[in-house]
């Protein structure tokens, strides 16, 4: 049996397994830390910066999803400063693309939307970028709307790590980054795509959806994808 390490989360002493991340330990002990790009069963990439936490003795904020625990680590999961940083991170996501909840298939079931509500975001303080982005309707069963993509890369990792097909990648840099299927081929022409639909289930917003659903009709089941990993690990 591996040695346990003792960490403190919001003052509470918790025994954790070395190698676990702060986020994993927190979740296992019912401590809430918001997260968006993290998905159970996938590698963590620390892309969205929503899970930032304060660690005693460390001057900068650390992402809980990629920071492993150590003996004696003391973590603070919420403070006015963290709240305001998380709010900024969320608002920037809204400002970057064209998120129109009123006409979105995922409205009411969207992780971005519910995080915004949770953080009391009622308007965006930054000017909208209003990029002109395409909708890829070429796949017979699924649709990708870049307007709603937050580049969390959950679909990329799902397809690569779970399905093993690696259809998705993020191309470009910074604000020019775009999710692409198979070297920029339209999704419907991607020969590696097995049409399993796991990427759609993993996507936290309405960016990926099954075709044919109207506003508020698209519900996702990322847990089903996560379970695949734990089932395989259990084997």
């Amino acid at each position: 049996m591996t040695e346990k390490v003792k960490v403190r989360i919001d003052g509470e002493v918790i025994a954790a397994t070395p190698g676990q991340t702060i986020l994993e330990v927190a979740r296992a002990n019912d401590k809430y830390i918001p997260a968006l790009c993290y998905m159970e069963g996938l590698s963590a990439v620390g892309a969205c910066r929503l899970c930032m936490v304060e660690v005693a003795g460390v001057a900068r904020l650390l992402p809980a999803c990629t920071t492993p625990v150590q003996e004696g680590l003391a973590v603070n999961t919420s403070s006015p400063q963290l709240q305001s940083y998380r709010k900024i991170a969320l608002e920037l996501l809204f400002a970057e693309r064209n998120h129109v909840c009123a006409v979105c298939v995922s409205s009411g079931h969207c992780e971005l939307q519910s995080l915004a509500q949770e953080h009391g975001i009622t308007y965006i303080r930054y000017p909208y970028n209003f990029p002109k982005l395409a909708v890829d309707t070429t796949h017979p069963r699924f649709v990708l709307d870049q307007n709603r993509c937050i580049l969390c890369s959950r679909c990329v990792r799902t397809c690569d790590e779970i399905e093993g097909a690696h259809v998705w990648d993020v191309s470009g840099r910074g604000i020019q980054s775009r999710l692409v299927s198979e070297l920029k081929r339209p999704w419907g022409e991607a020969t590696t795509c097995t049409s399993c639909g796991k990427c759609v289930q993993a996507c936290p917003t309405g960016a990926m959806a099954e075709k044919g659903w109207g506003v508020e009709e698209m519900t996702k089941r990322p847990a089903v994808v996560s379970r695949l990993t734990s089932m395989r690990e259990g084997q």
Binding site: V135, T137, E216
Partner: protein, 471 residues
Amino acid sequence: MNKVMIEHVSRIEGHAKITITLDDAGQVSDAQFHVTQIRGFEKFVEGRPYYEMPSITARICGICPVSHLLASSKACDAIMAVQVPEAARKLRELLHMAQFVQSHALSFFYLSAPDLLLGMDSDPAKRNVAGLLEKHPDLLREGIALRKFGQQVIERLAKERIHPSWTVPGGVNAEFDPDLREKTLAELPAAMAIVKRTIALWKKTLDSFPDEIESFSNFPTMYCGLVGPDGSLRLYDGNLRFIGADGSIVADQVKPADYATYIGEASLSDSYLKAPYFKPVGYDEGIYRVGPLARLNIADRCGTPAADEELAEYRQRLGRIVQSGFHYHYARLIEVVYALERMQELLDDPALLGTKVRAHADVNNLEGVGIIEAPRGTLIHHYKVNDDGAMTWANLIVATGHNNLAMGRGVLQVAKRFVDGNKIQEGALNRVSALIRAYDPCLSCSTHAVGVVPMVLQLRGSNGELLDELG
């Protein structure tokens, strides 16, 4: 040359502006009604999946979202080439009837009743819903109850609010709860009693508006609307019929997909709203009207007993073809009777509770047209898509569009009668606004009665100097 301008900004369809031009002798020489429409709409939807159109269009027009949902869903049905299951077809019509009740009740009781029952020349400070509450409290209460009934049925069908995803391409996304059917059936008689009392009152009041009847768009035009295979009134589904000013049928049973053979759209230089006209006759002779007045002129009968009885009396009083725009109000009330009777028929039909309510299909047609009769008139949604279902083109013709030319001419007629070149009388401004309200073009154009005068009437001299202003 002097110009009288009535202008206001409307959130829904851009600006609405009325320009009345006076000649040097101070007499009205010309008048125009301009509405700007959402520009760039076609560009906005380009590339988006067609099945998102119902909710997108419903959000674009906040005034009659249900009408857009239905017309758009029908256009999508056509793209999928599916037959909507019977229960869904009936549920959609039920939703539509509820929308008629609430929309017509809003138009009559909230927006127009202050003018109609308090008098066009009554104190503007009191010519509003509050004034109405003072003078005709029972009538106003009944109007509110009637509108609420319509709204409640919409909520029962589409859940807590106007849930944009209930009406979907291929049908609806949830069946109807039998308990809610019982509830609605139980409330219907009270709603019907309200309309009947209101019509009786309106018939007694009609004679006090000889000038308005004579001058509110009282001129011959063609008329357009949907009818059933037997020529009866249809609001949810049917084929187009066009009649001439004398009532002769000039085109009948025109399938929605063929609308463009008969309807041309002229672009007016001073208005973003296109001016539809009857193509075989040409622009602008082919001016036609839509909406309650037009529908009752077009239909051979309503097809429900109480509405047909009212229609017979309406025709006996006013003639087979009624051309004064003032009678939009009367026609609207008869349509509420029809809508309530249709609701009864639909609710009595066991097929309404069927569990097959949605047909699924891919793109099977690259083009689809959906037409319904919205409360304000014929509403056309026409889409083109590529093989993957991405929108490549869209055209919407809304009721306000069809009536555009007629409203413009109507303003001229009213202005000639009521606008005096020297000074604007409040009564003149109000009559011009009341004419527009008779057509019920959109809420923003009609909010006068709830206390705001959204139009400004300006009288300008030949050098542009402001002579008088009212608003």
